[in-house]
Symmetry: C2
Subunit: 504 residues, 2 copies
């Protein structure tokens, strides 16, 4: 390794150390921090952000990058690490320290107020903080610059190179196909999932979640699970990747799907190359690809027949009162009910995308300035009526349900849908390439799938672009049709629908 | 506030933010971190140390201090904050970044190896790491400089201005008085504490510990308790002060004394002025004074008759099987048994000081270079035989029992004894000044005592020196006789000894 490259690597690792340190403070804030700790914690995170920003825009780093970009002796991976760092460096240079600190402070305060507002189900408590954040975010689009739409600048932070226009078009496509498909399903005889709302003991749920994570291959020596109000995954290195879950004693869905979903995210982080710590090669590619890993486990695997053939007996043994009279078939059908609902994280894998589309449309409007923060609850409720035909009873169940805006995460939501579509495409290839994949899953053996994901996705970090990675794995770029093929096959069976004619 | 003073304050608050951030990482490391997180965490803490060091030695700070030291418009408190910062600044300047990082890395690695070595009860696993630390610590005494003894330089970090020669003399005093006193006690009819080793359910113990903390006035909105292998208190601000405990189902002592002890530390931190965050006025004075707060609660209050008149009924109700046949008098006597023992943290309040003296003598020898790390287990065991007449059965129960050396904390142990002596002196004054103090405690009302400690000790942070504070509170400097007066009165009654003649 050249001396310059080593210096570059050391510098980025130092930045990584501080970013991961901030992750520890964030994790603690959401999991264990006592309430009066909030004020100083916000200040501490703001200071840490400032230091990270100073180090990320250090002229020494700029000089190293300038030299390394013309160094022809670097390997392909080293070149990609350098280019990725250069891209981030030039973007970071556009921010000044005071903006970064103001944003970090605003985010910490918004997070605290969101928690309180959600508890009181009162959007007006959160509104002034959100307003401040939106103002800062609009400022940020100007700082970063954009050609077509200001929202492009925010999207790019989560899904590099994605465009607002493309996502608008993609979502129009989704709406046009999915609205009809969901209507077709609604016209069929409906399945029942009342048993999911029986009483499920907290501790037993916790134990079952740990079993599922262990079976997936989540390494508890390199991570741990805790409880938080909104489940999330965070990492402090590839050998310390933490997940959280949420347990509702009257709804088994919350724990099960959050465990498998966050578990999928965590497997990605635990599979990143430790020797590339702090570099692009040691970090996740994009949120869409991250989400492809959580969705693949949650939906393509976790809502599948094979998965529950492996696990239903154990679940039933833990909850004999709730599930004693529920057959495997009833459980499988109940768990896959398609039905418009209020809460995104509990939504089925089809109507889920309407939740995303609504948030995307609102974010786009907020960033263009075509809608005011104070109008959000009304707008939110109107869109839920329009797309999902449901009434939103309260802010807590509506516009306040998700943490993302409180975290300043505008541009984040679309990656959830993109991730699901990647997941369907990757899983179609996995089925072709892994001999007897479904039989292995049915036997509770997730190792072949995890090994395939490690090799195809995790091991590469951010060396390739999302387009490149998708082509390397599946032979083509992201293609929504894989999702619909998967969905039609699965739900036609579940709802005993007429087979789809070839020309559809 | 002058502009310069404000800049100075902002700078120190920024340093404080990063130090408290490091505290969060340390807390997590000892409480929740999965084992494979250790390597990157050590690196992250080393990087954070480096950044803190850079900021603490920033020339901008030096310039501000130079100007402020000649600013006659500052208040007394502001002057003291500036002088304290100047003292730290000049000391920090003597370290270079690489030394600080090497030390931080060595400490993190030593901590991990100590954990493993203690589990395996094998000192040789820890020895190379301890050797490295001792080498660095000896280097540090040269960096800091000293006039009389190299150990002075280390002592000063924990107990500013304390001298090795004075402590050696103090401990010779303690030995000369205490050896005889403990022998007198040994010659009396002995009390029984077998009931302390009955079975005490973990969860019930936990609940009782929380009751005690709540009663003391520990604010759970500004803190929390967790479990760790060695109980400790840490703080991320005065409004986020955390304690840990250790629960042994076959020994009630561990939980009770660690809760009250750490609770005492935590009350000090929760009582520091929040508006002085990051400045001397918002930080603890010395470890001796810190320990005076934990010891006062643990011994002068917590091992007293009044305290258990308030709490024994509740304890008995939680553990009817273990304590049903144990009278208040039996409990009070059993809890105050004086008996040489192996583990410092479980020792009675008299023989405790022999544990400290042994560690002090070993540390002094290690730092002078008159003893080798590899000889420690033998030396340790020999001293326990000599002073306490007990045989050490294993490294885990002997030289490996305490975390301090693994944390690089040489010069720390003597502050425990100093703290106990301050506690006795402060408590003697508290009894004079608080009307009906013992009656209030007996009624479970700790508020008058806490209010007195807040006013006399907590509110002042590090504005005064330990000598000044002690004089302000008690009218004289630290005086060991208060401890012996307290001890003779209490234990003469407990062991039905003949009253001490006046000339003794």
């Amino acid at each position: 390794m050249s001396l310059k490259y080593e210096q570059f690597k050391n510098h980025l690792q130092k930045v990584g150390d501080l970013k991961y340190a901030a992750n520890v403070l964030h994790w603690d804030q959401e999991v264990y921090m006592p309430k009066n700790g909030a004020g100083p914690r916000a200040q501490q995170l703001a200071t840490l952000s400032g230091v990270i920003h100073e180090l990320s825009t250090d002229k020494k780093l700029g000089d190293l990058l300038a030299e390394l970009r013309t160094d022809s002796t670097l390997t392909f991976e080293q070149k990609r690490n350098v280019e990725d760092a250069f891209d981030k460096y030039t973007k970071n240079l556009r921010y000044d320290v005071s903006f970064v600190q103001e944003m970090s402070m605003a985010v910490s305060e918004a997070f605290q107020s969101w928690n309180k507002a959600k508890e009181a189900s009162d959007f007006s408590m959160f509104a002034p903080h959100l307003e401040k954040l939106v103002k800062l975010k609009r400022q940020e689009t100007e700082i970063l610059g954009y050609t077509d739409h200001p929202y492009d600048a925010l999207l790019d932070q989560f899904e590099p190179k994605a465009k607002t226009a493309d996502i608008t078009a993609l979502f129009e496509d989704v709406k046009s196909v999915m609205v009809d498909f969901v209507k077709e399903i609604a016209a069929c005889p409906q399945n029942d999932d009342a048993f999911m709302s029986a009483h499920y003991d907290k501790d037993d749920q916790w134990d079952f979640g740990i079993e599922l994570l262990t079976q997936m291959g989540y390494d508890f020596d390199s991570g741990r699970q805790d409880v938080s109000s909104h489940p999330f995954t965070t990492n402090f290195s590839a050998t310390d990747v933490r997940v959280t879950t949420r347990i509702n004693e009257n709804d088994l869905n919350e724990m099960i799907w959050s465990c498998i979903h966050e578990g999928g995210h965590a497997l990605y982080e635990q599979g990143l190359p430790t020797e590339e710590y702090g570099l692009a090669g040691g970090e996740y590619l994009s949120l869409g690809v991250h989400e492809s890993q959580s969705r693949l486990w949650e939906n393509n695997v976790g809502r599948g027949k094979s998965y529950w053939k492996a696990n239903y007996a154990s679940l039933k043994a833990k909850f004999p009162e709730a599930l004693g009279n529920v057959s495997f078939d009833q459980f499988y059908r109940g768990m896959n009910i398609v039905k418009p609902s209020l809460i995104r994280t509990n939504a089925d894998e089809l109507t889920y995308h309407f939740h995303i589309i609504i948030r995307f449309e609102i974010e786009k409007a907020l960033i263009e300035g075509s809608v005011e923060v104070n109008d959000l609850p009304a707008l939110w409720n109107a869109k839920y009526k329009e797309y999902l035909d449901i009434d939103v009873p309260s802010d807590a169940m509506g516009v306040l349900q998700d943490i993302h805006w409180a975290h300043g995460g505008f541009g984040y939501f679309p990656t959830y849908s993109i991730g699901s579509f990647y997941a369907a495409q990757f899983y179609a290839t996995a089925k072709e390439e892994i001999p007897g994949l479904e039989a292995e899953i049915e036997a509770g053996n997730m190792k072949p799938l995890l090994a395939w994901l490690r090799e195809k996705v995790h091991a590469h970090g951010r060396i390739y672009t999302a387009d490149e990675l998708c082509e390397r794995i599946t032979g083509s770029k992201l293609n929504f049709s894989h999702f619909m093929t998967y969905a039609r096959a699965k739900y036609s069976e579940l709802y005993a629908m007429a087979p789809v004619s070839q020309e559809a």
